[in-house]
């Protein structure tokens, strides 16, 4: 279906498919349906409100409207567009900010001013802008579905591959010479294997609720490096993996997502503000263009697509925003890119489902959520993965979804169902957040199921000791819990120094390593090398300190070491580009420990 219209511009078909029977918020019942198709894009009333047909039954239907329905009345006409709600895919998406149904907010702003008015029609991709197209196939060649027919250098660092739509294959009849074209101009003509000629432009459409096809799934054994120490060192996610970040309000979901969006080593970021604050989007919009991607030296905005359907924007467009985002991500994955998609917050999406379901008077399951909630969550996370693309490249989509449990209680349905379908869990802890221990990711509750599969990568690319150091630290953190229980009953004095030293080392590790200040110029992200070295220094302090204490050194002495203060501040003092500061700290630590050893032996 997408291919059939892939070269048509969106021409609103003035076909009336029925008229309004009942209006209840964003849900509209339609009567007198003649010929409508499921998930068809529709327009409602003389206000021309955008909607989608989500239920068909005999001669009636249900439409969910993506704009405020004030003023819509029974007997208002409903027009069908003859196509499904689809994303427009092609050059021009990078650096753009869209609403939940892919309308560019900048263009809407130019048209209607500071408030978003209803019924505005703006194409998702700029129709005037010309792109420099370089063909890479010759007439006469066979073009497989989803294969590359040319390229456009969209930004300094991003080569946009122009693909044949996933449903079109055939023999190339003609291809446009290198030159400037708009997204709707024909750049190639194909005689399809199934018969008939088809013109292709640089833009294609894809129905947002359908996963784009690939050749096969690949194993998830390469990490997505985020620059956030607690994540990369303790609970890393694989490229193509799925993560949930649950946490009550103010625990750091948005900050964590933004930090990952800024510093992770993906080629492209799709950031979805789904039912959250307007100012957070503004924050991204003002900050990202100024920030420099350390890998490319270019502005972070040049690798970011933003989707903003804030909490006060229509709830049904919020429901769609998630699918709009993932469809764009898949499209770039199909070009062999690694894409990370950040959805803040998937709970607001689930609530949108609940609201729409309630208005349709469907039977609720838990807490008013519809019974199909788990299916929808599963379908969404299933669209993540590292894939061999139709064109034979490798690309990935990593999904990182925030979850906002009511009352911060993880036993609620959205958190619970999400947990079934993700493999990496970064649990935010209220107590840590209250203590301003950021990121407030709990080292006890979080997990990563990708760990084992990725260990070879870490050992090879980072440090052979990495895995061992990590295991050592995790063991200490778990021992600490038991020791703290003792302390809470009888006080710290009851513990021998060897055990109190474990508490000391854990405190050090939390302060010096796990806590990471997103606002500090040096600390905001750490390269994998810096992380591994930092972790190793702390493990050294632990191992040698433990020996020293066994030989009679005191805790106070261990704490008063000059190296101790160095370690606490190393995250702020040693920049990523020059780790020689860590050499010095390590050397000083070894020296002091040597001296202490000499003293006590």
């Amino acid at each position: 279906m997408s291919s059939a219209i892939s070269n048509l511009d969106m021409v609103m078909n003035e076909r009336i498919i029925g008229k309004v029977k009942r209006v209840n918020g964003p849900v509209i019942e339609v009567m007198g349906i003649t010929d409508a198709e499921m998930f068809e894009l529709v327009r409602v009333g003389r206000q021309n409100l955008i909607g989608e047909l989500i239920k068909l039954e005999a001669d009636s239907a249900v439409v969910q409207v993506y704009e405020d329905t004030t003023g819509i009345a029974p007997h208002d006409p409903v027009f069908g567009a003859g196509m499904q709600l689809s994303a427009e895919l092609g050059p021009g998406m990078i650096g753009t900010i869209y609403d939940g149904i892919q309308r560019p907010l900048e263009a809407i702003y130019e048209k209607t001013g500071i408030f978003i008015t209803r019924g505005v029609t703006v194409p998702s991709l700029d129709r005037e802008k010309q792109w420099h197209f370089v063909p890479c196939v010759e007439p006469g060649a066979h073009v497989a579905a989803g294969s590359v027919i040319g390229t456009v250098q969209e930004t300094e660092n991003l080569e946009h591959k122009i693909l044949a739509p996933p449903t079109v294959s055939g023999v190339l009849q003609s291809v446009a010479p290198e030159g400037e074209y708009t997204v709707t101009e024909t750049v190639a003509t194909i005689e399809r294997d199934c018969g008939g000629m088809q013109d292709l432009s640089m833009m294609q459409r894809w129905p947002i609720r359908i996963q784009r096809p690939t050749k096969e799934r690949l194993p998830l054994d390469i990490p997505l490096i985020t620059g956030q120490r607690v994540i990369d060192a303790l609970f890393p996610v694989a490229k193509g993996g799925t993560v949930a970040i649950p946490g009550g309000f103010g625990t750091g979901k948005t900050m964590t997502q933004q930090a990952v969006a800024k510093w992770c080593d993906a080629d492209l970021i799709v950031y979805i503000g789904c039912g959250e604050r307007g100012n957070e989007i503004t924050d991204v919009l003002t900050e990202f263009p100024e920030l420099i991607d350390p890998r490319t030296g270019r502005s972070l905005m040049e690798r970011t697509i933003l989707i903003a359907n804030t909490s006060n924007m229509p709830v049904s467009a919020r429901e769609a925003s998630i699918y709009t985002g993932i469809t764009m991500a898949e499209y770039f994955r199909d070009q062999g890119k690694h894409v990370a998609i950040l959805a803040d917050s998937t709970s607001r999406w689930a609530e949108a489902l609940r609201e729409l379901s309630g208005r349709m008077e469907e039977m609720p399951a838990e807490e008013g959520f519809p019974a199909y909630l788990p299916t929808k969550i599963a379908e969404f996370y299933e669209r993540a993965g590292r894939m061999e693309t139709l064109s034979g490249d490798q690309g990935s989509v990593t999904i990182i979804g925030a979850v906002s449990p009511p009352g911060g209680d993880f036993s609620e349905p959205v958190t619970q169902h999400t947990k079934r379908f993700i493999r990496c869990f970064w649990a935010l802890d209220r107590n840590l957040a209250n203590a301003r221990h950021y990121p407030a990711i709990s080292w006890l509750e979080s997990y990563s199921e990708y760990m084992q599969d990725m260990a070879p990568w870490f050992e090879q690319e980072v440090n052979p000791e990495w895995f061992e150091d990590r295991t050592e630290i995790m063991e200490l953190l778990h021992k600490e819990v038991r020791l703290q229980q003792v302390v809470k009953l009888v006080g710290p004095d009851a513990l021998p120094d060897t055990q109190r030293f474990i508490l000391e080392v854990c405190t050090l590790f939390k302060n010096a390593f796990l806590q990471q200040n997103a606002y500090d110029k040096i600390d905001m992200f750490s390269t994998m090398q810096k992380q591994a070295r930092m972790m190793h220094i702390i493990v050294t302090y632990w191992k040698r300190g433990q020996e020293a204490i066994k030989n009679g050194a005191t805790l106070v002495k261990m704490r008063k070491l000059r190296a101790y203060q160095d370690i606490i501040k190393m995250k702020f003092t040693v920049p990523n580009e020059d780790l020689s500061g860590l050499d010095k700290i390590e050397a000083r630590l070894e020296r002091s420990m040597d001296q202490m050893e000499a003293l006590h032996s």
Binding site: V23, G71, E106, T310, E355, R436
Partner: protein, 467 residues
């Protein structure tokens, strides 16, 4: 089809005598012309009294109308309904400052009917995120625990999460009196919306505005405890509509105080229950989040506009429970929260602001060098960290006894005492400059040994701690 549209236009304003069903604040009318969703209605009772309402649902079978002033005294045969063909619009103008209105925006101060420069849909429209200006200007409230640790920023929405009987009105009034942007003189206004609060609360605020001589810059929208509960659903919307006009058409800096949001949410639950909607938690409708967001998100700053809306919603947490849906959903929308703690109030600390759960999300971009003072970010972070440790030590002490604590833990207890008594605690008429606030912060930190100050740089320690 065309004729239906045409007719509808002509039929707007048409009156129907007699309604089919009345259920709580809802009226059901059958056999009307096609009526638009959210259309305004005028409902006239048998004595000729007019009440306003809006259409909650419209279908070919019946129209469901919600009447703001309640349905008491209405009868099925004699009630007359007029559908106005447009949503509820509020005439707005700068002249509304200094006046008192009911929740629907009708004057109740005995003055002349208001004359609007414009009539605006009270539901407002979503601000395009592109159009927003990220708020950064520090507002000095003169209250240490706010300025120092939960800084208020112009254009922020920062609620007070309080409990019954706690001094939230006093704090809100103190903020309204003392709030200033240092070094500037700009036109400002206060828009005050009261939902279901008692007369004396309204009187307290009016007196407070009067005493500080700002009453002429205040517009009050009062829907008090004895007014129909449904009116409360409209009150914040009318208030915010005026606020938007003042901020974005008249270039004023507007502070919106809304109290008590809990009463607002309760009215929403009432309507939802009567309509038989599927509830989510504690009987509140699933759309409570979106509904609150439509109110809270109307604050902010806009590119190219000189004015701003800063909002200070007040809500009382049922049972002092911060995980109750009302504070919980609010916290998910607002840009932080000032949380009150009954235990601190009991110890005579004013304002009883809980150190740890309180948060200002916009603080980061409004403090530090050139805005407040260079040492502010690290000092605040250190105070939070230390105070959080104090809480742990207090817990420990309550189990094992204070004697068993280490000397360092004793230092922390000492710090905690000073922090609460010298830093947090202040008089209701006490206005501290940000420098005073930060200096007191350093002063209380001196209870701790310097090695404990992990979040502060060497230079800051030298400059502020040592001296």
């Amino acid at each position: 089809m065309e004729s239906a549209k045409e007719n509808r236009h002509l039929l707007a304003g048409r009156e129907y005598v007699g309604v089919d069903r009345i259920d709580g604040p809802l009226i059901f009318v059958k056999n009307t012309h096609p009526v638009g969703y959210r259309e305004l209605i005028e409902c006239v009772d048998k004595d000729g009294q007019m009440r306003l309402g809006i259409v909650l649902e419209s279908s070919t079978d019946a129209v469901v109308v919600q009447v703001f002033e309640g349905t008491a005294g209405l009868t099925l045969p004699d009630t007359r309904m007029r559908f106005c063909g447009e949503p509820l619009n509020l005439p707005v103008s700068k002249e509304m400052l200094g006046r008192v209105f009911n929740g629907l925006g009708q004057p109740i101060d005995g003055g002349p009917p208001q004359r609007g420069d414009l009539a605006l849909d009270i539901n407002g429209m979503a601000i395009n995120p592109i159009a927003r200006q990220y708020p950064r200007d520090f507002i000095q409230t003169g209250i240490s625990v706010i300025d120092g640790m939960n800084t208020l920023i112009r254009g922020q929405k920062l609620p007070i999460f309080s409990g019954n009987g706690l001094p939230h009105n006093e704090l809100a009034a103190q903020i309204a009196r003392q709030a200033k942007i240092r070094g500037t003189q700009t036109e400002f206004a206060v828009v005050f919306a009261a939902m279901g609060v008692k007369h004396d609360v309204a009187r307290f605020f009016i007196r407070s505005f009067e005493e500080s001589g700002v009453l002429d810059n205040v517009a009050l929208f009062l829907s008090l405890a004895d007014d129909p509960s449904i009116e409360r659903l409209i009150t914040p919307r009318t208030a915010l509509t005026l606020a938007e006009h003042l901020a974005f058409n008249e270039d004023m800096h507007v502070l919106v105080v809304m109290t008590d949001m809990t009463n607002y949410c309760e009215s929403l639950r009432e309507i939802s229950t009567i309509r038989g909607e599927i509830p989510s938690r504690k009987g509140y409708p699933g759309y409570l989040y979106s509904d609150l967001a439509e109110l809270y998100e109307r604050s902010g700053m806009i590119k190219g506009k000189a004015g701003s809306i800063t909002s200070l919603p007040i809500l009382t947490m049922p049972n002092d429970d911060i995980s109750h849906p009302i504070p919980d959903l609010s916290g998910y929308i607002t840009e932080g929260q000032i949380v009150f703690e009954r235990e601190m109030d009991g110890r005579g600390i004013y304002p009883p602001v809980a150190g740890l759960p309180s948060l200002s999300r916009l603080m980061k971009d409004g403090i530090g060098e050139g805005m407040t003072r260079e040492d502010h970010p690290h000092l605040a972070s250190q105070l939070f960290a230390a105070y959080s440790y104090v809480k742990d030590v207090r817990n420990l002490a309550s189990v094992i006894g204070e004697e068993e604590l280490t000397p360092l833990d004793h230092d922390y207890l000492e710090f905690g005492k000073h922090f609460e008594q010298k830093f947090v605690s202040q008089r209701q008429d006490e206005e501290r400059s940000i420098e005073e606030t930060l200096d007191i912060g350093w002063d209380v930190l001196r209870s701790l040994p310097v090695e404990e100050l992990h979040r502060i740089t060497e230079e800051e320690i030298e400059k502020y701690y040592g001296g």
